[in-house]
């Protein structure tokens, strides 16, 4: 058996929410403000609408091929050889995303809290915990996100309320100062980060209600969009868009702005705890998806022996790929979005079109019931 766990819709939502926010909490708001300036909030809504549209395709494919994730239905649609060549791109994308996530939050902890500590000393324990969680299976990750997710959402709402006295919303004006071009560029950029939630295709076959896949994704990405909107709007309103674009982690800087007398300040440590927790759990999810996908490509009976080697590979990639923080930002701004758009939108739409043209379907539910349970 590949994965024995089953998740419910609630866990489905929170897992996707944690994945979205672990990426968007760190440097994505700054990238977005660089691209879209004051119109960044519109780009968040634009990215949201694109992602909701893409989710329809993913959810439909999950139901057209019941019990199969995208690695498996690539093989069903395209045959063994071509299906494996296409299918392997999904796990590779998850490995790349995991490398990006783990490097992002390690760099953040290193820059803001432990500047003299080696980044390796932060990254390796994080990866070990992520690997350990991934090895326990999807149910364990799901339960952790049920605790972390609501706390994370509440924290950003609380930060938003506490920092709002410092905000000057006139700084959001004028809108469309450079026309609609910045927001039209910003929307696809944000889609590539929301789009890591193509992970939903790995969750649908494991959800107790697969037909709720779309609903879960819609709720998760809407909560994620609220989260990013709060950060982006407050960052521009508090710092101004020129300065917000140059801040590494605007969410963290916003939490630093909170100060009520000598009583309520230094709240960034709470934010940091949540970012670290979410980053590790998102990495666990990505490691789990990579290992499960690779085990299905290689036709292994279990994915668990691949987890720690995958964590080691991620660590090596994260440590050796970027010589500086600037290189990582350039990777996030140029390289990652191109590969992500190709995998998230291009490959899935290609599979969808081929499945429609060739009229390929998975094993239907009624047949499945009669074969497995002797019913009807």
């Amino acid at each position: 058996m590949q994965e024995k766990g089953i998740i419910n819709t609630n866990q489905f939502v929170w897992m996707l929410f944690i994945i979205i926010t672990s990426f968007t909490a760190i440097q994505v708001p700054a990238l977005l403000i660089t691209q879209a300036g004051r119109d960044a909030w519109l780009a968040v809504i634009g990215g949201w609408i694109l992602d909701v549209s893409l989710a329809v395709v993913y959810a439909y494919m999950g139901l057209r091929f019941p019990g199969q994730n995208f690695v498996q239905y690539s093989i069903t649609i395209l045959g063994k050889t071509a299906g494996r060549i296409v299918g392997i791109l999904f796990p590779i994308f998850f490995l790349l995303a995991c490398m990006f996530s783990i490097h992002g939050f390690s760099q953040l902890v290193n820059s803001y809290f432990f500047p003299t500590t080696s980044i390796m000393a932060i990254m390796i324990p994080g990866l070990f915990v992520a690997g350990y969680a991934a090895r326990q299976g999807i149910e364990v990750i799901g339960r952790v996100t049920e605790v972390l997710g609501p706390l994370y959402l509440l924290s950003i709402v609380a930060i938003g309320l506490l920092v709002s006295p410092s905000a000057e919303f006139d700084r959001l004006k004028p809108q469309f100062d450079d026309g609609v071009y910045p927001f039209l560029i910003g929307s696809p950029l944000l889609l590539t980060f929301y789009g890591i939630c193509i992970m939903m295709a790995m969750f649908i076959p494991l959800c107790n209600r697969p037909e709720n896949g779309f609903l879960a994704k819609f709720i998760a990405v809407s909560l994620g969009a609220v989260f990013v909107t709060i950060i982006v709007v407050l960052s521009v309103a508090v710092f101004g868009y020129e300065q917000a674009a140059n801040i590494h982690a605007p969410g963290l800087e916003l939490s630093r702005m909170i100060s009520y007398g000598n009583y309520l300040d230094r709240l960034e440590i709470i934010w940091m705890l949540l970012v670290t927790g979410a980053g590790i759990i998102a990495s666990a999810n990505l490691l789990w998806a990579f290992s499960l996908g690779m085990s299905q490509i290689l036709e292994l009976s279990t994915y668990k022996p691949l987890i720690y080697p995958a964590a080691l590979l991620t660590g090596m990639l994260a440590l050796t790929s970027f010589n500086s923080n600037m290189e990582q930002i350039r990777f996030a701004e140029y390289t990652f979005p191109i590969f992500a758009a190709f995998v998230e939108a291009g490959l899935e739409i290609f599979l969808f079109v081929v499945a429609l043209v060739l009229n390929k379907r998975g094993q239907q539910y009624d047949n499945y019931r009669s074969i497995n349970h002797g019913k009807d």
Binding site: I6, I45, V52, D170, P205, E211, F214
Partner: protein, 50 residues
């Protein structure tokens, strides 16, 4: 810097329009596509959450 009210209003209308379109896509997909599978779709093990 001059605050161009005409553009600001246009931005708010664009944002609201996109929100409505997104919600409409979600509502129509859920009502006419995914609700058909309610109680029929199976997961990998055909079992309930423990």
């Amino acid at each position: 810097m001059e605050k161009i009210s005409y553009h600001n209003l246009f931005a708010i209308i664009t944002g609201l329009f996109m929100l409505i379109i997104g919600c409409l896509i979600a509502y129509l997909s859920q009502k006419y596509l995914f609700s058909k599978y309610r109680g029929k779709a199976k997961n990998i093990k055909d079992k309930e959450y423990p």
